[in-house]
């Protein structure tokens, strides 16, 4: 069972969109997937299920209940969701570190009934996010293709590196995916800058900016169901392929390519951009 946390400090970077649509894409491939909505705002819950204010998820995260028992089915066959609750916000303020331990334990106690567990984290490196990062093995960081997102991405990568060394040594290096990439020169420059800074941490696939995501959310369906032939859906399918391929290829994290070597190696992402331009 693979466990993935989708995390970024900055709101609007595409965390929920990535978590929901990657989970749906995996489920459509026949891989049973559980999506855990840890964001007290409940965006993923509102997208895929009926919002609920019961204490079930809260009780599961403090160890009084089994987290798997709080999962509900969605319209996507093979995809289940643990819904968010407003209790999470006050619980995080009150329990703090104990909340993180509760999340970590709840994720660790999950039975391998699903092939993938994807956790949509709140838009901050809070106790809920840290708990999720301590319970998973993989991290995805969606980064908006805008210059204002770069410092936040750098901070998150740095904090995850610190968390790897201090709290969760089995956590893989993060996979950064550029989201909301439009056709402007600015967006291409930002993606190139991400490639320059993070090299192999950056996913080859990027997610384009598309109004279809908002339409799919309004229709309460993932993009893979709402608009399966759209470019946005193809982007998420390509990213999902890359996620599956990543597991097969790398177990321990490979060392990053030294900066001087990057001068002599062709950037895979730059090549992908060129192909798209053509």
């Amino acid at each position: 069972m693979r466990t993935i946390a989708v995390v970024n400090r900055k709101g609007g970077s595409g965390k929920t969109t990535t978590a929901v649509n990657v989970a749906a894409a995996l489920a459509q491939r026949g891989l049973a997937t559980l999506l855990i909505d840890l964001d007290p705002q409940g965006s993923a819950t509102a997208w895929l299920a009926e919002p609920s204010d019961d204490r079930g998820p809260f009780d599961a995260l403090v160890g009084k209940r089994d987290l798997a028992a709080t999962a509900v089915t969605t319209r996507v066959p093979g995809l289940e969701i643990v819904r968010s609750s407003a209790w999470l916000l006050t619980a995080e303020q009150t329990l703090r570190g104990d909340m993180s331990v509760g999340v970590m334990r709840a994720v660790g106690r999950l039975r391998p009934d699903w092939a993938f567990v994807i956790i949509d984290c709140p838009p901050s490196l809070s106790y809920l996010s840290v708990g999720a990062l301590m319970g998973v093995r993989e991290v995805v960081i969606p980064v908006e293709a805008h210059a204002i997102a770069l410092p936040g991405a750098a901070a998150v990568v740095r904090e995850i590196s610190r968390l790897q060394s201090s709290l969760n040594p089995v956590l893989w290096d993060p996979l950064i995916v550029a989201c909301r990439v439009n056709r402007t020169v600015h967006a291409r420059e930002v993606v190139a800058e991400l490639d320059r800074r993070y090299g192999w941490l950056l996913a080859r696939s990027s997610i384009r900016e598309s109004i279809r995501f908002a339409e799919a959310e309004a229709a309460r369906m993932p993009i893979t169901t709402f608009a399966p032939d759209s470019g946005a859906c193809l982007d998420y399918r390509a990213f999902t392929d890359e996620l599956l391929e990543r597991h097969e290829q790398s177990q321990p994290s490979p060392r990053p390519v030294p900066r001087w070597r990057r001068l002599f190696t062709r950037s895979s992402h730059a090549a992908a951009l060129k192909r798209r331009a053509v």
């Binding site: 006050t90 303020q93 009150t94 570190g97 993180s100 331990v101 334990r105 201090s166």
Partner: protein, 280 residues
């Protein structure tokens, strides 16, 4: 010595040596340990899994470090400091196993507080605490609303309340309750800045306006206040806890709306805290 006697002596010697050898190889029976005074003296139960407590302390230190990096250099508490504080909160400020008095002889909470200052007949708690009252708060909120509307500067409203204060006053007396309120007021003032505006809103409630502070930065102040208040109340042997809620004006709203939201979050935090502590 006749040969029979020699034989008898040799047999006896053999039996004695054999017995000594057998006893030497057998394990000694365990002595039942009498319960020591130090175990009897522990008045409060310690959490069953201390490893989880250590992990939680490490996480709190990590989050504090992240917040400190974002704030630019305030020294966060180390994991050992966080752990010591948690241990003090959980075990009643007893860090080392000492042969203390049994729980039934523990001093009553009221006697642990310093004597209350002599109170003039017409003085209010706000006067004792050095804070403004309701009128001061209303004026401050109006002024900050106007300032935020005109200049677009950030402001965060923090509401603080001691929800079980009446219960405390019923059991320990009004003087003790007043003392708690005064100390809480001093705590809120000392942890804030000179520009922050603090007022006592009556009974057990306080309002704090954090000027030039966004909602995402308010937890720094809130966490300091909560930690210090918990330490002080726990060391004084009191079971009440300070509830805190905060909010900033969202787009299109004003400080009055933020005050309402902060009050609601304060109530939610108080309910969650009582639920966690098993108090109805």
């Amino acid at each position: 010595m006749p040969p029979d006697d020699q034989l008898l002596l040799a047999a006896l010697a053999f039996v004695i040596v054999a017995k000594v050898l057998v006893l030497a190889t057998l394990p000694l029976p365990r002595r039942r340990r009498r319960p020591s005074m130090q175990h009897q003296a522990k008045p409060v139960s310690v959490p069953a899994d201390d490893g989880d407590a250590r992990t939680a302390a490490a996480i709190e230190a990590f989050v504090a470090q992240v917040a400190a990096d974002a704030a630019g250099g305030i020294r966060p508490p180390s994991p050992s400091e966080v752990m010591a504080r948690r241990r003090a909160v959980l075990t009643g400020a007893i860090d080392e196993p000492t042969a203390g008095p049994p729980a039934s002889d523990a001093p009553k909470p009221a006697t642990r507080l310093a004597p209350a200052p002599p109170r003039p007949s017409s003085a209010s708690v706000a006067d004792l605490a050095g804070l403004g009252g309701r009128a001061t708060w209303d004026r401050a909120v109006r002024e900050e609303s106007a300032r935020a509307a005109r200049f677009g500067r950030p402001v965060t409203v923090v509401m603080a309340e001691l929800p079980d204060l009446d219960h405390l006053a019923d059991h320990l007396g009004r003087d003790v309750a007043d003392r708690v309120v005064v100390e809480t007021a001093r705590l809120l003032s000392s942890e804030g800045r000179a520009v922050d505006r603090i007022a006592w809103l009556g009974a057990a409630r306080f309002g704090v306006l954090l000027l030039e502070t966004e909602e995402t930065r308010a937890p720094g102040y809130v966490d300091r206040v909560r930690a210090t208040a918990d330490d002080w109340l726990q060391s004084a042997g009191l079971t009440i806890r300070l509830s805190l809620g905060w909010a900033s004006p969202a787009d299109g709203s004003d400080v009055f709306a933020a005050t309402t939201l902060a009050r609601q979050r304060m109530h939610d935090a108080g309910r969650a805290s009582r639920a966690v502590r098993g108090i109805r």
